[in-house]
């Protein structure tokens, strides 16, 4: 053996993505599940796939699914990375409320909209950083650390709005929630852009791999010389940022900040989206696009039940049934079963 010095070519070319043929993408349980849910929606409501062009933007149930699913999809982008580190962030719903409250109070007090947006995003970053500090420096378990802000955050939001629902008519904030770009609703554009950016950043740098390593074995990560603390700080801060973006969208959509209800329970939907997307709560391998897909599956079900005329009470039961099916499809058990089927290689 000869031990040469390592000849490095620092990333002039980005790492190639893992080879992922189209066929394997289409046969993923998430994609099948989404197709199935959409198909059922179509059966219940034949006009489901009809998309029309009106006043310079797209309309239709499908667009509605994308639009309504965007806030959870954005939360899921941040949540994916947190869960990949074997953590969880329960505070994102409350952070949405804080961000909405900050923006609404700022514009109603006469500050310019851009400053209000920056302040709201800044508030999200600070909240995320707070979570990160609790998790890394104080070594509190993530579920407890973020529970603090989940409870306190809504109180903070109420303090900011002084207990009222603060309505506004600022066109910029309203545009974020209800506007459109190239025919697509702004929330969809924002969610899609954020998904692309986040995916590019984690996969073209080493962040993705290092986050996965920390999530799989934090102790081994330490022994291998990874700075887990800095990675965790970044990940929680980013989750806070995503929550703030989501909060802005929800506030813009209803033209007001409702500290009590904005983002209520959405952290659970976000966690669910991530899990449906195939990222294990045990940490490790993660996929941001799949988590976004998971958010869309959840929203497609919500929308389907609403438009089908079933009473909304069915929503939760149907949702849990579909989720159980998806999780079973993803389980190692079914992977073994499928592999044994004759004629189905791999």
């Amino acid at each position: 053996m000869t031990r040469q010095t390592v000849d490095l070519r620092p990333s002039t070319e980005p790492p190639l993505p893992r080879p992922r043929p189209l066929a394997s993408l289409v046969t993923r349980p998430q994609v099948i599940a989404l197709a199935a849910v959409l198909f059922v929606n179509w059966l219940l409501f034949p006009g489901f796939f009809t998309v029309t062009w009106q006043d310079g933007r797209l309309f239709g149930s499908l667009i509605d699914v994308l639009n309504r699913g965007a806030p959870v999809a954005i939360l899921a982008i941040g949540m994916t990375m947190v869960i990949a580190t074997k953590g969880v962030d329960l505070s994102v719903g409350a952070v949405m409320a804080i961000s909405g409250a900050v923006a609404a109070v700022m514009v109603t007090s006469g500050y310019p909209a851009w400053l209000a947006v920056l302040a709201a995003l800044g508030a999200g970053l600070v909240c995320g950083l707070w979570n990160g500090i609790l998790v890394t420096l104080l070594e509190i378990q993530p579920i407890i650390a973020t529970l603090v802000l989940m409870v306190a955050g809504r109180g903070l939001a109420q303090l900011i709005t002084e207990g009222y629902i603060v309505t506004f008519s600022d066109p910029v904030l309203i545009f974020i929630g209800t506007g459109s770009f190239l025919g697509f609703p702004m929330p969809v554009v924002i969610a899609f852009t954020l998904m692309l950016l986040a995916t590019l950043i984690v996969r073209r740098t080493a962040l993705g791999l290092l986050i996965e390593a920390v999530g799989i074995n934090r102790s081994a990560a330490r022994f291998a010389g990874l700075s887990s603390g800095a990675l965790l700080l970044i990940v929680y801060t980013f989750a806070g940022f995503c929550a703030a973006v989501s909060g802005l969208i929800v506030a813009g959509d209803i033209r007001g900040a409702d500290a009590n209800n904005a983002g209520l329970w959405l952290e659970l939907d976000a966690i669910l989206a991530v899990v449906i997307g195939g990222t294990s709560l045990m940490g490790g391998r993660f996929s941001i696009p799949m988590a976004v897909l998971g958010a869309m599956i959840i929203q497609a079900m919500n929308t389907g039940i609403l438009i089908s005329g079933f009473s909304p009470e069915f929503n939760l039961v149907v949702k849990s049934a579909v989720i159980i099916v998806i999780l079973v499809l993803q389980s190692p058990l079914s992977a073994r079963l499928f592999r044994r089927l004759p004629g189905k290689s791999q």
Partner: protein, 506 residues
């Protein structure tokens, strides 16, 4: 007590226990007599804890039988064993710290009156019981208010009350100070006088000689010997524990002793609470082996060097320049690598691929934004996998699917990929099959020849001798001897470990 009067209370015959491919116990006989303290000794992985678990019913033997007072018994679980009179006290007291002493003593069998717990009677009985152990304490106070030694005695009292024939003490003194140990020993001697058979597990040899009558030594799942301790000295015991009494194969370069390059890494007065300050210089192309029993501070030294535990004093020089190492990331930046003892816990990333496991340390060293592209990764992984002969179907498979030996080589490859100046290996051959074992030893020799500075900890004496230029011997968390060149011989090492006075070199 004379041997003639000895009567085995608990006896194990021809015990075999297999875990997967690994024979944890291979045809082991063991007998604990009434009225004796029987010490059970062996290095990590020798099979001590497996044997204890079989004796107490936690494991079921794959072959062999257990006899209690000459009658065969089949233990379903530890509770069943307790019913037969076999009680255990573990290193960590497994009682309820937030309940009173008396409740702990009588938990599950409280004396009741009209269906209610009779507190006054419990307390009176508890006081009475503990006074027999020379303990006069407020039994109504919470257990956690007392020292670990008192808690241990309470645990022993409970175990003896519940069982009363055989008492297994599994490293009971690990967290006690000298006085507490003596107090515990008095209690144990009292029980011995009452005719209990006491099985005593520890890795403090002086305590074995202090307390025990006989000793059984296990190594690699086999019984080496059972002997009366008054016929033995420490050196004999160490030799039996570490094996081979022995034709050591000695490495030629170590004999010449003069092939050392310049000093790569120097540690000066490095120390930490519970570890005496040490000076050590490791040269280019040199393997410094570390010998010593478990608990002698071997791993602690390695952790200190690599910044896993922060040093409280002393300095580290790499190529003559001082470096700061307060965490492993700084150690990696200084060109250190560390293959930890517990591969699964601290080494591999089970779900990551072989390739990713190999490049991860280099990637961490390069930072987040200088990502190795896929071709570089494939090339690096391929080069080191070939150099170390890592056998994997492909390098994209999760590393957890590889065998222990191949996983160890993956971790070794990970460090070679950062082009290290100094490599620390803690028990690199533990839990690895024989073939891979020899290969790892060959690899260590080869790395030395290529000019790497290595610090290798191993319990296997013949192995340390086979690749070390120098051997540092540790005892009681202190480097007590250094052997080099022709001094590297089995006897010298064994005697240094045992602390036989005439043999210790300063």
């Amino acid at each position: 007590m004379t041997d003639a009067a000895a009567r085995p209370v608990l006896e194990a015959r021809g015990i075999v226990k297999v875990f997967g491919q690994h024979r944890a116990l291979d045809n082991v006989d063991f007998a604990a007599n009434a009225g004796e303290v029987h010490a059970l000794l062996g290095e990590n992985g020798a099979g001590k804890s497996t044997l204890i678990k079989i004796l107490t019913g936690a494991y079921h033997p794959d072959a062999g039988e257990l006899l209690l007072d000459g009658q065969p018994i089949h233990l379903r679980d530890p509770l069943h064993g307790q019913g037969y009179g076999i009680g255990t006290v573990y290193q960590e007291v497994n009682l309820l710290p937030n309940r009173s002493v008396s409740e702990n003593l009588f938990l599950g069998r409280q004396p009741t009156r009209f269906g209610l717990v009779d507190r006054r009677r419990i307390d009176a009985q508890a006081r009475d019981l503990l006074s027999r152990y020379g303990l006069d304490i407020d039994v109504r106070a919470e257990l956690s208010e007392y020292s670990v030694a008192v808690q241990q005695i309470v645990a022993i009292a409970r175990a003896v009350e519940l069982s009363g024939k055989v008492l297994v003490l599994d490293e009971p003194t690990a967290s006690l100070d000298r006085n507490e140990v003596q107090r515990l020993f008095e209690v144990v001697r009292g029980l011995k006088a009452k005719g209990l058979a006491i099985i005593f597990i520890t890795h403090f040899l002086d305590q074995v000689f202090d307390l025990a009558d006989r000793v059984t030594i296990l190594r690699n799942g086999r019984k080496v010997a059972t002997q009366r301790l008054d016929t033995l000295n420490t050196t004999d015991v160490v030799r039996m524990m570490l094996g081979k009494d022995v034709a050591f194969e000695h490495h030629p370069t170590a004999l010449t002793g003069s092939t050392r390059g310049q000093v790569r890494v120097a540690f000066k007065g490095l120390n930490r609470k519970g570890l005496a300050p040490f000076d050590l210089a490791v040269h280019e192309g040199e393997v410094v082996g570390v010998a010593g029993l478990l608990g002698s501070g071997r791993t602690e030294v390695a952790r200190l060097m690599f910044g896993v535990d922060g040093a409280e004093g002393g300095e580290i020089l790499v190529d003559g320049r001082p470096v700061t190492i307060r965490n492993p990331a700084q150690a990696v930046a200084a060109g250190f690598g560390f293959c930890p003892e517990d591969r699964k816990l601290d080494g591999i990333f089970g779900d990551l691929s072989v390739r990713e496991n190999i490049i991860i340390a280099l990637q961490a060293k390069l930072g987040w934004f200088r990502a190795l592209n896929r071709e570089d990764q494939v090339e690096l992984a391929g080069r080191y996998a070939e150099a170390l002969d890592i056998r994997a179907a492909n390098h994209d498979m999760p590393v957890k699917l590889l065998s222990g030996g191949n996983q160890q080589k993956v971790i070794l490859a990970r460090w070679l990929a950062i082009d290290p100046t100094f490599l620390i290996l803690d028990e690199p051959t533990r839990g690895i099959d024989v073939g891979a074992h020899a290969e790892i030893v060959r690899t260590i020799n080869r790395l030395r020849e290529e000019g790497l500075a290595l610090f290798v900890i191993s319990s296997e004496l013949d192995e340390v001798v086979a690749y070390s230029n120098r051997i540092v011997v540790m005892r009681d968390r202190e480097m007590v001897a250094e052997l080099a060149g022709p001094d590297i011989a089995s006897d010298a090492i064994v005697q240094a470990i045992a602390g036989t006075p005439q043999e210790v070199r300063p």
